[in-house]
Symmetry: C2
Subunit: 212 residues, 2 copies
DNA sequence: GTCTATATTTGGATAGAC
DNA sequence: GTCTATCCAAATATAGAC
């Protein structure tokens, strides 16, 4: 019933796909609560009642969109990691993953940005139905950061799970303040990476500088 | 009409205050969409219609709560900064501000956590009415980070505004994954500070280490 | 100040014609 | 597959009694 991602659903079922596309765009820009089935139907060129031929409920539409969004980010990040040479350092890998995640979010994909936007707005039942897919993606990051930690590339004071939570949330939050029209994604990707890998401070912290 | 913060409203008007307290608690735990005026009234020990003697609309209640939440965080952070010795470094100041922000969020204050939780859920009109207060708080951070940058304490490649957006969002996002019952706020405050100030990587980045 | 009762609107969902 | 028509529930908001 509920598709895991778009690749498994091919191109058949084109009106179902059109409905999802329209709904994703509306959810992305108006949020979950402000998007009604009538809105989605109008955007799709049909009437509200007709949606029920393709979907059993609004929840089913939303869950599909949430799942597709995460699957696309997951695929993009996994491909980027796999494309690296075997000699790549953990730092290189983390950098590549950060870049890929940001690309997936910002390169005009309604599904990925709708996911981040509405995840905190949907009813708990919907979130629960979507959680497994989301956890699978976080597992990819968890493995990467844990491996880096065990290899001694992260400070011993760092908890990989904490870094994971902190990093993923702030990457997602970039949707709220970064406008790709005003600069390339590469720019914030580089800043994110530098910040996470080396921090924002220029010098050794032992050198104390007075305020103002 | 709409109060800026709680201090200006004193203790008078105790039922208005009780309504706000109950609403903040409900918004914090159930979110904006799932909290009705009936819920708020029931929690406050009255009927839905009676709320309109104290408030003109649901929006007015929500805006008050959003404003109070930010004002409390702002006060906490400003106090923490002011309490530092004049010899404090920028790094010290940033650390203190991070700690204060996290304390304000996690120490059982329904207003501050409701703010973070529902800000992305409220109608645009409500967000707009609240924006000025929020911007005033961000200005405090902006001044701090810009000063640190101009003093040469941040890497030249760092954009203070970008660090600001990134840092504040991830501090707020900690509400979604950190449970103060399982560990002191100090712990994540230290990790956040270390991450932002020095990064997560243990060694100089020039030393390349192979993966797996 | 708070109540009861109700107006009004909106949105998810269903039934049956075509 | 899509339409029209409609049901039903929930929520904001108002009016007037007490």
């Amino acid at each position: 019933m509920t598709e895991i991602d778009d690749t498994s659903a091919r191109e058949e079922n084109s009106s179902r796909r059109r409905i999802l596309d329209c709904a994703a765009r509306l959810f992305r820009h108006k949020g979950y609560g402000a998007t009604s089935l009538r809105d989605i139907a109008a955007e799709s060129g049909m009437k509200a009642g007709s949606l029920y031929y393709h979907f059993a409920s609004k929840d089913e539409i939303v869950i599909d969109i949430l799942n597709i969004g995460v699957a696309r980010v997951h695929d993009t990040v996994r491909s980027a990691i796999d494309a690296l040479a075997k000699t790549a350092t953990y730092a290189d890998t983390i950098r590549a993953a950060i870049h890929a995640h940001l690309r997936a979010l910002h390169e005009a994909d309604d599904y990925t940005s709708a996911n981040v936007r509405i995840f905190g707005q949907v009813p708990e039942t919907v979130r629960d139905a979507h959680l497994a897919i989301r956890r699978a993606y976080e597992e990819t990051w968890s493995k990467l950061l844990t491996a880096a930690f065990e290899a001694g590339e992260l400070r011993p004071t760092m908890d990989p799970q904490l870094v994971l939570a902190l990093l993923l949330r702030s990457l997602n939050a970039s949707l709220e303040w970064f406008d790709p029209k005003k600069g390339p994604v590469e720019r914030i990707a580089a800043t994110f990476s530098e910040l996470v890998l080396r921090g924002a401070v220029d010098e050794a912290p032992a050198v104390a500088k007075r305020r103002a």
